[in-house]
């Protein structure tokens, strides 16, 4: 299976990563190689086999629905690129 340069641009956009035109060709080549590897799965007959989402088939635990976290806003925002009055700053979204 080969991935076209156009598909690479589309995937990069879905993943929100800008990609230069020189890189597109290289990624198309690399990703196609990885998909060739992945498609070796197709030799397997998986009919009737239950998909395995968790290695030990454990059930997801639920916690009690009560407040368990204290306010750590300042501590958690200390490493943010831009904050003001406890809010994360981003470029203007709504005109």
């Amino acid at each position: 299976m080969s991935i076209t340069p156009n598909e690479v641009k589309k995937i990069a956009h879905l993943a929100r990563m800008s990609i230069s035109s020189e890189e597109v060709e290289r990624y198309a080549h690399d990703l196609s190689g990885i998909l060739d590897l992945v498609e070796r799965m197709n030799q397997a007959d998986v009919q009737g086999i239950e998909p395995m989402a968790h290695p030990l088939d454990m059930n997801q635990r639920l916690r009690v629905d009560s407040v368990s976290e204290s306010d750590q806003r300042e501590q958690l925002q200390a490493c943010a690129p831009a904050v003001e009055n406890g809010l994360f700053l981003v470029p203007k979204v709504i005109e």
Binding site: I3, E7, V8, I11, A12, H13, L14, A15, R16, M17, S18, I19, Y27, D30, L31, G33, I34, L35, D36, L37, V38, E39, R40, M41, N42, Q43, A44, V46, I49, E50, P51, M52, A53, H54, P55, L56, M58, Q60, R61, R63, Q72, Q75, L76, A78, C79, A80, P81, A82, F88, V90, P91, K92, V93
Partner: protein, 487 residues
């Protein structure tokens, strides 16, 4: 007497208890070794000297008061994937080059409570994606046995630092072999516990259904002491196991007679280095002398593991790494013109090549119209692989085989062809898909580079694996050998 960096944990503890050495002197010894030797290896990304000395002074107080535990005053270093409050936690990435963790990983917290002395943080493949420790933003780590060779990855800094005697203990993480393969390439011992045995809280996520933290040290006994402090239920990790832990040291001396060892015929086919095969064969002879019985087993779907892994791991990674958006923490590009530009350039600048490849593969596999053909199919294959192990482990107690098809490759060799590098994880990846525990221990040399033996067990059989490895290490001395340049 051997030098301090050649002693086992038990020997170091005896010296501390008998007051022949203080925790402070021990910390200074290892910090000094990092200063002398790490320029040749690049195994540390961050040396936290002040913190280490403070930890050591506290340990000395506890020891003086007779309140020391098994790990009080013992130096260790963490793979830089574990969040350490107040110090940089980079995960080997430019994305987190400015990230000071606001909290401790559970593993870090537990080891701190056990009285260990943190020397610093260890180099790794960026976001744990790689098999050579060359994809780090901070440059490649080198193998102490031959600085032209890679140490393996992704926990390559951990393995190299232990092999060179820069730290007696280290933490690692293993998503597709990242503890076992560097342990093998550097001639040390490393254990990937059962999925859920060690908390993932504060361990930066790569592929959450596969990631597992574990101990790395020179010998199995040291790994057992370290696992005792690391393992156990953690309510902050939603997939943490509630299965009670054991004292992993208690069974180390159990006799191996009657042990049934299975060798999967699929692990000894074409592509296996002759020197590696020879070392494994010699190890089996040793186990027979210890009273074990060796027979062949089959894991018929082994070849499907790498293809399935390169769907599941990248799919989970693409989702996990979406948190790096340039907004809340991590790298942000300069002067973004709008929000999309902020996301796209921050991520393009922050992530390296291998991480981008895996994010894109995962994004593709999960994109509309492809889910059934890739992700769902890979999950079905995953069950076939888990069923293979269940069948084989109903016939034998443990499975043994090589950790990797060859010894450590030269630096740069694996970067030419990512797919060839992926295929070298053929004996380790299936274990992660099945969630089982597996251990790597030194079993000889091929072409002058260390060979690792892998022991795979049933879920939660960590105690048994450590016992088997420890018994092997009572009759062999591969784990005591050190690279000449670092003796």
């Amino acid at each position: 007497m051997s030098a301090l960096h050649q002693l086992s944990l038990r020997e170091l503890r005896a010296l501390l208890e008998q007051k022949q050495i203080s925790a402070l002197e021990l910390a200074q010894h290892f910090l000094g070794r990092v200063h002398t030797h790490d320029a040749a290896l690049n195994s540390f990304v961050n040396l936290s000297e002040e913190r280490a000395l403070a930890d050591a002074r506290r340990a000395d107080e506890l020891l003086a008061a007779g309140q020391g535990g098994a790990l009080t005053g013992i130096p260790l270093a963490h793979k830089d994937i574990f969040c350490t409050q107040g110090t940089k936690t980079s995960c080997g990435s430019r994305m987190l080059d400015n990230f000071i963790a606001p909290y401790n990983a559970t593993v870090v917290e537990r080891l701190q409570a056990a009285g260990t002395v943190m020397l610093g943080k260890l180099n790794m493949d960026e976001f744990a994606m790689g098999s050579t420790s060359e994809s780090s933003f901070y440059g490649a780590t080198k193998n102490p046995w031959d600085t032209q060779a890679v140490p393996g990855g992704s926990s390559g800094g951990s393995a190299a630092a232990i092999a060179a005697g820069l730290t007696p203990l280290a933490t690692g993480t293993d998503t597709g072999g990242s503890i076992r393969q560097p342990a093998a390439y550097c001639g040390i011992t490393g254990l990937k516990p059962t999925y859920g045995r060690v908390s993932r809280f504060g361990m930066i996520a790569y592929a959450s259904s596969l990631d597992q933290g574990g101990p790395m040290a020179r010998c199995a006994e040291d790994c057992a002491w370290l696992l005792n402090a690391m393992a156990g239920f953690d309510e902050r990790d939603s997939t943490s196991s509630e299965q009670p832990t054991e004292d992993y040291v208690a069974q180390l001396n159990a006799d191996l007679s009657g042990l049934k060892i299975g060798l999967p015929r699929e692990y000894f086919g074409a592509g296996l280095d002759a020197g590696v095969a020879q070392a494994i064969e010699a190890a089996m002879a040793e186990f027979r002398r210890l009273g074990a019985e060796v027979r062949e087993v089959s894991l018929p779907n082994s070849e499907l593991a790498i293809p399935a892994y390169y769907v599941i791991a990248p799919a989970e990674a693409s989702s996990n790494l979406s948190r790096f958006d340039g907004v809340r923490f991590g790298h942000r590009c300069a002067a973004p013109k709008d929000l999309t530009d902020l996301y796209e350039r921050s991520r393009a600048e922050g992530f390296g090549d291998e991480v981008k490849r895996r994010i894109m593969i995962g994004t593709y596999a999960l994109s509309s119209g492809y889910y059934d053909a890739y992700y769902l199919k890979a999950q079905r294959v995953r069950r076939m692989i888990a069923d293979d192990f269940a069948r084989a482990l109903s016939e034998v107690d443990v499975i043994m085989g090589p950790v990797a098809p060859g010894v450590a490759p030269n630096l740069g060799e694996s970067l030419k062809d990512p797919v060839a590098m992926y295929l070298s994880d053929i004996y380790t990846v299936p274990v992660n898909l099945a969630g089982l525990p597996a251990l790597s221990l030194p079993a000889g040399f091929s072409q002058g580079r260390p060979v690792g033996l892998q022991i795979i067990g049933k879920a939660f059989a960590e105690s048994r694996l450590l016992n088997i490895a420890h018994q092997f290490q009572q009759v062999t001395d591969w784990h005591r050998q050190m690279p000449q340049a670092f003796v």
